[in-house]
């Protein structure tokens, strides 16, 4: 049984190890999923308006801020895509996979994984009820999208746990 882990291997590198084949396949699909970010629903979710009813502020935001956010999101996806070229069999566990990347790429990984989860949810119209699903029909694209969101969510959860050492020194 593989145990999925995200951990530093030295001061400069992070390794995800024990990646089961199904999650490895999903990670390889990340670049393809991220390309869907400009579909209308996905775009609206990733680049929301900053106010509910100030049209002028919203228009200015979409012109000035959205391109900057798009650059940030695309850049994160490109970083992870490059890192994923090193995805290989886990020497300690031949049934699993592993990938090692620079520690400064952690934020890019969290961004790319979360973008993919949000895009899948919008493309497949997955709501709160669908997220509670525990049975997944392999023939249903919607069910498989829910499963992807959960599995990528588990990986993201491990990244967030990794971040717990960085609590603020001067809390408000």
């Amino acid at each position: 049984m593989t145990e999925l882990r995200v951990q530093p291997i030295d001061e400069k590198h992070i390794r995800i190890s024990g990646i089961p084949p199904v999650l490895a396949a999903m990670l390889r699909e990340l670049p393809e999923i991220l390309e869907l970010r400009e579909l209308p629903n996905a775009h609206a979710r990733l680049f929301p308006n900053p106010t509910a009813d100030h049209d002028k502020v919203n228009d200015e935001w979409q012109q000035m801020v959205t391109p900057e956010l798009r650059h940030l999101f695309v850049s994160a996806g490109e970083t992870v895509t490059r890192d994923l070229t090193a995805l290989s069999s886990d020497k300690a566990n031949p049934e699993g996979y592993q990938v090692t990347f620079p520690i400064e790429h952690v934020n890019a990984w969290m961004s790319a994984i979360n973008q993919a989860r949000l895009i899948l949810a919008e493309v497949h119209k997955i709501d709160e009820n669908e997220m509670d699903r525990t049975d997944f029909d392999p023939q249903s694209p919607k069910h498989m999208a829910s499963l992807r969101i959960h599995l990528l969510g588990y990986l993201l959860h491990l990244f967030v746990d990794l971040d717990k050492g960085g609590e603020p020194e001067n809390p408000v």
Binding site: T51, L118, L156, V160, P168
Partner: protein, 102 residues
Amino acid sequence: MVLPVEMVQPGIVVIEKIKAKEQLTTPWNVVVHNDPINLMNYVTMVLMRVFGYPRPRAETMMLEVHNKGRSLVWSGEREQAEHYVHQLHGYQLLATMEKSEA
């Protein structure tokens, strides 16, 4: 020739000044909204990173988002509110800013 406003209707100038002052001093609220996809511990992490809140405060706000659908996470000057919303959107949280009613 168009006369300066204060020469035609001096009162309007005063009113506009008051309005401008109100706009500068009225605080703006930054609100985080619930969504079914973002993880609870991810939202907590983002609130800690963006605002420097200690974990208990960030967790309280995250739970308010989860249970009530929204949480007012910061209040203050508009420019700073925009900065925070920008950062929250960078982490893919659903966040808006709104003028305080207080």
